[in-house]
């Protein structure tokens, strides 16, 4: 099923990636070529097959409830784009 430019715009917004109009047109073409490949999946008969989301059927290993970490704020924030008084700063959040 071919993607329309509006659908490309919608998913680009969901993915928070700015695309210019020419980029939308280019992306539409490439994505449709890739979906041409992916569409082959639809022909397969998978009735009764359980989806496999992990390699193998193991279950999660749990950790004990213990505090193992200490404060590394300075180290972590040394690579941050914009911090002030220990906070990460971003353009104003509107609720």
């Amino acid at each position: 099923m071919p993607l329309s430019p509006d659908e490309v715009r919608r998913i680009a917004l969901l993915a928070r990636i700015e695309l210019s109009e020419p980029e939308i047109a280019a992306a539409q073409g490439q994505l449709n070529a890739i979906f041409g490949l992916i569409e082959k999946l639809q022909a397969a008969d998978t009735r009764g097959v359980a989806p496999m989301s992990h390699a193998g059927d193991a279950s999660a290993r749990l950790r004990e409830d213990q505090v193992l970490e200490s404060d590394q704020r300075e180290r972590f924030q040394s690579v941050a784009p914009h911090v002030e008084r220990g906070l990460y700063l971003v353009p104003r959040v509107i609720e």
């Binding site: 969901l14 290993r61 749990l62 970490e69 220990g86 700063l89």
Partner: protein
């Protein structure tokens, strides 16, 4: 026209683990910004989540407690999914949350309102991580992000839309609050956001199809819950009666104006693209584990209420009040224990005396002082000891009340070296103020002999059938004991002497 309100609640209870749900960072409240946000919490490239056993154990505990300790509502294999959306307080760009397969499905909570008892069904309870906090103070027009709270374990408890009024919604929230605190999975501190509710509210014609619901987010007090629902219900009715329609929306409650308003920020975020988190294998819960958790839960509120009614012959009302929260029940049982010397038999009157005291004096004071359920200014030991003295006639009811009130205030003012007072402090006060009643029969008999001799007129009048004269004689006897005579003892001896 008649309208029916339909309410369902989604409650986020912060679980009482020491570390976060997917990392080893501390969950302690109030640390300096971002000092309790480790690599996993700030989503450094390459880090991975590992599930905290303590969080899972608490979810199991809740599932059992909300289901009469049966485990048929606990999913043996549940799945963590990713809920994808961009928000600065969500460092990974997705929240890890159970979606299609939650750890708890079903259960119920019983509430009591003016119209009686009602069962509110639970749809599910699932584990998820909390987000960080956005601070909107002035940072040159920017927001500051603190990720200390990011990754704090939450149990989201979702009710069926079984509530029909704000009163029922509040009763449910309170019952749930008491339950999560009772089983120790959440500290219930609403100021710190440990327990907060989202309310889904709609209105309809009685018996008609469900109306469109609006979700009120983040209500962190019972009062706000009540106000927000009441406002929202009236708003919806006004809109519909004014010819409008309700659109599905997420709204915020503004406590200052008492109004709800639509949120602006999430309008394009409705496509969360849930899928199973590939970093986390399915969560398996064994029967052995469930049995261990069940064994450790202890008595649940309902069970305790029943025991109070059956083995202590308390009324349903008294038993209900005393089991509203775990601490009150514990306190009540502590008072009973301390009021009786060891080996002494308890009887109905003892239980009733203690229940009356806890309900009418202690809880009244705790409420009046706005104290949390776990704070009793006078300890159960101290009060029990006072009540033991009262029961044995060593002090009067008046004295007991005064003593209790004095102890409560002094303890609140932190004047005590021993928080809550102690037996020896009670003894000292009674001795220094001479509050002890005279219950010694021989002493009272001799005093009464003198009173009878000195008041022949009253004796005559009493014998002539004037009951008032008896009271005058009691008053004289009390006066002779300087007010310390045990009224019951005086009464008894006097009647015997007068042959009444």
């Amino acid at each position: 026209m008649e309208w029916e309100t339909v309410i369902g609640l989604e409650t986020h209870a912060q679980l009482s683990t020491v570390s976060k749900i997917f990392s080893g960072a501390s969950t302690a409240f109030g640390a300096a910004p971002n000092t309790q946000a480790c690599g996993v919490d700030i989503a450094l490239p390459g880090v991975l989540p590992v599930i905290n056993r303590g969080a899972v154990e608490r979810a199991i505990r809740f599932g059992l407690a909300a289901n009469g300790k049966r485990a048929d509502n606990i999913c043996r294999r549940s799945v963590f999914a990713r809920k994808n959306y961009f928000y600065p307080d969500l460092p990974k760009g997705y929240q890890i949350s159970q979606y299609e397969l939650p750890i708890v499905s079903g259960g119920s909570v019983s509430i009591v309102t003016r119209s009686g008892e009602k069962i509110i069904r639970l749809t599910r309870a699932h584990l998820e991580e909390d987000a960080g906090k956005s601070l909107h103070e002035d940072f040159q027009g920017m927001s500051g992000i603190d990720l200390n709270r990011a990754g704090t374990p939450l149990l989201e408890i979702v009710s069926e839309p079984d509530m029909r009024s704000a009163e029922e919604a509040v009763a449910y929230a309170k019952a749930l609050h008491a339950l999560v605190r009772w089983i120790g999975i959440c500290d219930g501190n609403m100021q710190e956001g440990s327990f907060r509710c989202d309310a889904n509210v709609s209105v309809r014609r009685p018996g008609g199809p469900l109306g469109t619901r609006r979700e009120i987010k983040n209500l962190n007090s019972f009062r706000f819950l009540q106000q927000a629902i009441e406002y929202e219900v009236q708003w919806q009715i006004d809109v519909i009666e004014g010819g409008g329609t309700i659109g599905q929306a997420t709204v915020l409650f503004d406590a200052d104006s008492g109004k709800t308003r639509e949120m602006r920020s999430k309008e394009d975020a409705h496509d969360y693209r849930y899928f199973p988190d590939p970093d986390l294998l399915p969560l398996e819960v064994s029967d052995v584990w469930i049995d261990e958790v069940r064994a450790a839960i202890g008595e649940l509120p309902g069970e305790r209420k029943k025991r109070f009614q059956e083995s202590m012959a308390l009324s349903e009302y008294d038993a209900g009040v005393l089991t509203n929260d775990r601490e009150t029940g514990d306190y009540f049982e502590g008072v009973i224990g301390a009021s009786l010397a060891s080996g002494e038999a308890r009887d109905r009157a003892d239980f009733k005396l203690c229940a009356n005291w806890v309900i009418n004096e202690v809880l009244a004071k705790r409420n009046a002082d706005n104290l949390p359920p776990w704070q009793f200014a006078v300890s159960d030991d101290t009060l029990g000891y006072m009540l033991g003295l009262l029961r044995n006639g060593d002090i009067s009811a008046r004295t007991t009340k005064d003593l209790f009130a004095e102890f409560w205030e002094a303890s609140r003012a932190k004047k005590f070296s021993v928080q809550g007072g102690s037996k020896s402090m009670v003894d000292e006060l009674i001795a220094s103020r001479g509050l002890k009643q005279v219950s010694d029969t021989a002493e009272i008999e001799s005093i009464i002999d003198q009173v009878l001799l000195a008041n022949p007129k009253s004796v005559e009048e009493f014998r002539a059938g004037r009951e008032k004269a008896f009271n005058a004689l009691v008053g004289q006897a009390m006066k002779a004991t300087k007010g310390k005579g045990n009224p019951a003892t005086i009464n008894g001896i006097l009647r015997r002497r007068l042959g009444a």
